[in-house]
Amino acid sequence: MFQVAEVPTYQPVLNRNPYQPQMARIVRIYKMVEDNYLFTVRFLDDQLAATFRHLPGQFVMLSVPGAGEAPISISSSPSRPGVLELCVRRVGRVTNALYRLKTNELVGVRGPYGNGFPIQRLIGNDLLFAAGGLGMAPLRSLLWYALDNREKFKRIILMCGSRQPADMLFREELLSLADRPDLECLLTVDADPSGGWGHYLALLPKLFDYVTIDPSRTYAAVCGPPVVYRFILERLLALDFPKDRILMSLERRMKCGIGKCGHCSVGYKYTCLQGPIFTYWDAINLPEMI
């Protein structure tokens, strides 16, 4: 009685699958600190390797075949394309599996995700970096971006602290920056058990005593463990820093990186879409943030 023409079936556009990891080769593993290695990866697809661009502060989802996927901030600057540098702490299932891989083995990478630092707003201002513990990992991208585009920024002040010299992420690199005339580089350690440390020996917030900062023309990028946030924020607020000029990089559990899986929400924002860079003003207004 009734005849229906065949209804066309919708086929998903698989080449635009946002969950698709692209295979990348580990080209270098550099042991910076115990359980904190710097993995340099390059996409197998040469064109992707050459055209992949990110903003400082963005992250990728890193797949270790068989172990799963984890969000990792990009530590290299977009001003130095071709490879991605990922500072990875050995702490969970995926990162433990990553540490078992050797140079030349394959991982999956997709991204970049997240908002990244608001570069357009930062240009023309002073930049203050305050990194404690492992906080340099997400800030290093912006640091090198600013140094590679030095004329776009006014003063650049770097404060970096760790427990002792052996714990400082990117130690050699930061030490080599200390003599740069266009960077005010303040490195500090809480203790120097082996001696020979030629820089500050003080808690990180103490560095504010050694530098003058004009909050009205400065953006502060802060990252570190909760105790660092607490004391750095205290110093910044004491300087009357506007709350939307304090930028922080957050981490949360993430399963998709693209605002679907629900895990990374803080209050009502998704760390993967509206973050991971939030202003302190955002933080005050999102009760779960810190």
Partner: protein
């Protein structure tokens, strides 16, 4: 929008046509409850039903699904089995269709979810109207009526189903039936309006969502959350049965003895202790009170900021599923300072 009517006695005939558009799934009575499932024969369908145990999200975001297969030589290859299957969901309530419209927004945007989108486009939705029971509050959530997200919607007007044709596919279904559908008369329209008005007045649960996000902000420290945390078992039932809860976990399953495997996702709940747990042991929502507060906060406050409305359609499933009788309408009314609300 095209408006037609279908004589009730011709429904069987209509279904036999609809079958040609895909595998027909409809609510079926099962152990005292209703479930949406594939029909073996049309007589199994129960169109006069309250609510199914699980909402329709199971068709678009299955409880567990493979996203990729991994082989060392090939990398991650998308799993596409079943995505092209054509299904017709027959007898969808307005709240459930509304919930799909909400999920559509989550699974599109800057990043389209290809699995969800493929299933959505291969699935036809034929809605049917319903009568509220004592757990329905879809009217409060503005989801007692849908104006899109369905192919056809049938309204009972006595001898006929008054039918709204929502999409070109719906129109094709109507056309394929030949002369089954008839034009509506003014009398039919008046009957629809009369029944619609009666339905609006039949709700026994009511919550006010106006300025609710702001009240959530003000009551963030309320002791209500601690009381709920004491009561809640963190079982996640409310999330599983919620038509708009979409949290999922992603994990890799390795085949034993090989380096190949599968990347899969499965339903997750923000009430589970692991939801906000990060590597290294930090948990951003350790206590049950914080987790149940988060669920309410996200659905009734956060989602409004993001998508302009709560991610709740008032279907009443969480009320039915909660083993400790936490009732969302009571929670919201208590937050608003309204007591003695009519419930059961």
């Amino acid at each position: 929008m095209k408006v037609l009517k279908l004589p009730k006695e011709k429904l069987d005939l209509f279904v036999s046509v609809v079958q040609q558009f895909g595998e027909v799934h409809a609510p079926v009575r099962q152990n005292g409850n209703y479930v949406f499932r594939r029909l073996d024969r049309w007589s199994e369908a129960c169109l006069d039903y309250s609510r199914t145990i699980l909402p329709l999200k199971k068709y678009f975001l299955p409880p567990r699904e493979a996203l990729f297969r991994y082989r060392p030589a090939d990398g991650y290859v998308p799993a596409v089995e079943g995505l092209d299957k054509r299904i017709v969901l027959f007898g969808v309530h307005a709240c459930d269709a509304y919930a799909l419209n909400i999920l559509d927004r989550v699974f599109s945007g800057k990043y389209d979810d290809p699995c969800y989108q493929a299933r959505r486009r291969n699935t036809a939705v034929i809605g049917i109207d319903c009568r509220p029971d004592d757990r329905c509050f879809c009217r409060s959530m503005r989801a007692d009526f849908v104006d899109r997200g369905f192919d056809l919607f049938l309204y009972d007007i006595g001898e006929y189903y008054q039918t709204l044709v929502g999409t070109a596919l719906g129109d094709d279904m109507v056309l394929a039936t030949g002369p089954l559908f008839e034009p509506v008369t003014q009398q039919d329209i008046d009957e629809y309006k009369r029944r619609s008005s009666i339905k609006r007045q039949a709700f026994r649960l009511d919550v006010e969502i106006r300025d609710l996000p702001e009240i959530f902000e003000m009551e963030y420290q309320s002791e209500i959350w601690d009381e709920l945390g004491e009561k809640c078992l963190s079982c996640g039932s409310c999330s599983m049965v919620c038509p708009t809860c979409y949290c999922f976990d992603v994990f890799d399953d390795v085949e034993l003895g090989s380096r190949a495997g599968e990347r899969a996702r499965q339903w997750d709940s923000c009430l589970f202790a692991s939801h906000a747990l990060v590597a290294g042991g930090e948990n951003f929502r350790r206590g049950r009170a914080r987790r149940i507060k988060f669920r309410y906060y996200h659905k009734q406050r956060g989602f409004v900021a993001e998508y302009g409305r709560p991610s709740c359609v008032g279907c009443g499933r969480c009320i039915a599923a909660c083993p400790v009788q936490i009732n969302i309408s009571e929670v919201i009314n208590r937050l608003r300072g309204i007591h003695n609300v009519p419930s059961r």
